[in-house]
């Protein structure tokens, strides 16, 4: 046992030496996650606000002015231009100076005064579907608000008391992320993607490297057991993955004000299990990949894409096709995204997240067993 610990220690020391000698690798495991975090968090923001808006008022009446004030006062729309003809809308959309156009036809105030439903055109640039969808919803909401305002004004003018009339007022609240800030929702998921990339890719390559260097044969003629090699290889990467977890959590808290509401230890345990599951996946790749390049590409395909697309990180899992939902169960990222968001946003702990943790344990064990068998089979073939 003591000998085994010494051997594992030798592997760990050696792995850190490799890391220290290869600045690119160091860059890949420490700097890249930070860059990815900043890039993703700023670039794939699903937040929609200050949407550039062009308004065209053909009516030019006090009523239309009042209507447009709704848009100018909203933090959601930012009126960037006042047009005079519909051609200005084309122009603004073409040059990306505006994404939404509000067009008030002439006769708007007259129609309102005659108690008929007035028409307002809201034109939306659909080339950015997410922004388009949200713009539409906001604009409808603004119109409703304005409609209610008009109703109230009309009632006041008629001397009616609407307070006894019971107008329906929907109160919508978004739980866990009341401001619906996308960084709150992205960063816990992003952490999962980044850990997956670092761990899967590095383990996938680290064993293939031993084979490529021919050092694997030297390891085989030593009394070291395969499990010692695996543990020696996993330890440094577990440590580095935890460093990345801490880094991302810290940056998320400081730069993006992401809340950490739940049990930190649940996050740590979940992350540890996820790291093991991912490392198992990496070992599986190195057990079957013939070369470093193949291992790299396989790792990218297996670690990056599913954890990005099939984890609930980018797309809600109940929104994707059913067969893709099934495939998503085969990758550990989906469990970890649930854990991560649960702890960060919902304030969850072990009581709520144990099913995901159990799934990760099972997943990690299955991966380690399969890859150990395959690796052993290959090495002396």
């Amino acid at each position: 046992m003591r000998q085994a610990m010494i051997r594992i220690g030798a592997i760990v020391r050696k792995e850190f030496r490799h890391l220290g000698r290869d600045p690119r690798m160091l860059l890949a495991v420490v700097i890249t996650p930070v860059i990815q975090l900043l890039l993703f968090a700023y670039a794939i923001s699903f937040d929609v606000d200050h949407v550039a808006t062009i308004v065209i008022d053909f009516d030019k009446s006090p009523a239309s002015q009042r209507y447009l004030q709704q848009y100018e006062g909203s933090p959601f729309f930012q009126v960037v231009a006042h047009g005079s003809s519909l051609a200005d809308v084309d122009d603004a959309f073409d040059h990306n100076t505006a994404r939404v156009a509000i067009v008030i036809p002439s006769g708007f105030s007259r129609t309102l005064a005659s108690d008929a439903a007035a028409q307002v055109s809201v034109l939306i640039d659909g080339s950015e579907p997410n922004a388009a969808k949200i713009s539409q919803a906001y604009s409808v909401a603004l119109n409703q608000l304005y409609g209610q305002q008009l109703t109230r004004d009309w009632a006041d003018a008629q001397g009616l008391d609407l307070s006894s009339f019971g107008l329906l007022q929907p109160q919508i609240r978004t739980w866990y992320n009341p401001e619906r800030r996308s960084s709150d929702f992205l960063i816990p998921g992003l952490m999962v993607v980044i850990i997956a990339i670092v761990t899967v890719q590095q383990t996938a390559v680290t064993l293939v490297r031993e084979r490529d260097l021919g050092t694997q044969e030297q390891l085989e003629v030593s009394p070291m057991r395969r499990i010692e090699l695996m543990v020696g290889k996993l330890l440094p990467w577990t440590l580095i993955a935890f460093l990345d977890v801490a880094l991302i959590t810290g940056l998320g808290r400081i730069l993006f004000n992401v809340p950490l509401r739940g049990d930190f230890w649940a996050l740590a345990v979940g992350a540890a299990l996820f790291v093991f599951a991912s490392l198992g996946m990496g070992l599986l790749i190195s057990a079957i990949a013939p070369t470093m390049d193949t291992a790299n590409i396989m790792a990218l395909l297996i670690a990056f894409l599913p954890s990005f697309l099939l984890s609930g990180f980018a797309f809600a899992l109940d929104q994707i096709p059913v067969f893709l939902q099934w495939i998503s169960y085969a990758f550990p990222a989906r469990y970890m995204v649930t854990i991560s968001r649960g702890v960060f946003l919902k304030g969850s702990g072990f009581a709520e997240l144990w099913p995901e943790m159990v799934s990760l344990v099972v997943y990690a064990l299955v991966m380690l067993v399969i890859s150990s068998v395959l690796y052993g089979r290959r090495s002396r073939a």
Binding site: Q3, I6, R7, A10, I11, R13, K14, R17, H18, R21, D22, L213, G214, T215, E217, Q218, L219, E220, V221, S222, P223, M224, R380, A381
Partner: protein, 328 residues
């Protein structure tokens, strides 16, 4: 020269077989190497040398047959075999980004060498091999000869009794090759058993025993002198202004077993009863070859194997004598 110990021999293999796909790399091979031997495994590329060594080193499973090292099976008792062997693979198999000292220390550590022993042994090995001033240099920045010495030094850190060296001198400059063999001679004197594969025939002379391997079978086995004695007759070098003319002139002369060009001389294997100088001189004169001269030389391994491969290997390809004659 080989003194078979009372205990099990260093290496014993019987019916050992291994194929890769359709290629039979090692074919029903029998072999016995006594303790203390410097055993040369000769043969061209693809003869099966590496396959044999890797099976003996326990890193490759045989398809059939049995092999044992110091009495322990390489398949079922690998854990008893590996502590006593040092295996040096054909390719450089150290970590290129680790220094000389770090490589040696790492492999010795996983081999279970204590810290104190690691320090003492690495100091003396590095000194003995002329690597002492390069301890901090990364392995990737060593020359070819130094890389081989580093591998050998690393292999010796756990003081193995049997060294399995797979073409340690291939691609190494002649000076380094001589030095490498000087180190092996020292190990031999220290009582180690060495099995060394090499494609260089001249290195065979430095071995106590040799086996010539071809197509996975041992074609020749014995001490260098025994093998040389299998070549009937004497070796004569014929020089001439136009060596090709000389070659044409001596071919077909009664008593000439074989003749071939080697550089700018013709090498003739003579088995006639008469003195070769006279008989060949007469033939050369008759053909009118200019500036001809003959000189008897000691047969070298290159010529011996060229002759034995041409006469023995082909007719006896499938003969059982090809496998039976080498157990000493």
């Amino acid at each position: 020269m080989t003194t078979p110990a009372t205990a099990a021999p260093a290496i014993r293999a019987s019916g050992l077989r291994r194929s890769f796909g359709d290629t039979l790399a090692v074919a029903d091979l029998d072999l016995e190497v006594g303790e203390g031997a410097v055993f040369g495994l000769l043969g061209p590329d693809g003869a099966g040398k590496s396959t044999l060594i890797r099976m003996l080193a326990t890193v490759l499973r045989p398809d059939g047959g049995e092999a044992s090292v110091f009495g322990h099976s390489v398949t079922t008792q690998a854990a008893l075999v590996t502590p006593r062997i040092g295996y040096m693979s054909q390719r450089f198999s150290m970590y290129p980004d680790l220094s000389v000292a770090e490589n040696m220390d790492f492999f010795a550590t996983i081999r279970g060498v204590s810290k104190a022993d690691r320090r003492i042994r690495s100091a003396s090995l590095l000194e003995g091999m002329g690597l002492a001033e390069f301890t901090k240099r990364q392995a990737q920045h060593l020359s070819g000869g130094m890389k081989q010495k580093l591998m050998l030094a690393t292999t010796l850190m756990h003081e193995p009794d049997l060294l399995l060296l797979d073409e340690p001198t291939t691609g190494v400059d002649p000076v380094s090759r001589r030095e490498f063999w000087r180190i092996l001679a020292g190990l031999h004197r220290a009582g180690k058993t060495v099995l060394v594969a090499t494609p260089y025939m001249d290195e065979a002379e430095r071995c106590t025993q040799i086996a010539f391997l071809d197509s996975g079978r041992i074609k020749q086995f014995g001490t260098p002198d025994e093998i040389k004695a299998r070549v009937p007759g004497r070796l004569v070098e014929v020089s001439a202004t136009y060596p090709r003319a000389a070659l044409a002139a001596v071919q077909g002369v009664p008593g000439v077993e074989s003749a071939h060009l080697l550089g700018d001389v013709v090498r003739v294997l003579w088995s006639g009863a008469a003195q070769p100088e006279q008989a060949l001189g007469a033939a050369l004169a008759a053909a009118g070859v200019d500036g001809a001269g003959t000189r008897e030389v000691a047969p070298d391994m290159e010529t011996v194997f060229a002759y034995l491969a041409g006469t023995v290997a082909e007719p006896h390809e499938a003969a059982p004598s090809g496998t039976g004659s080498f157990a000493s």
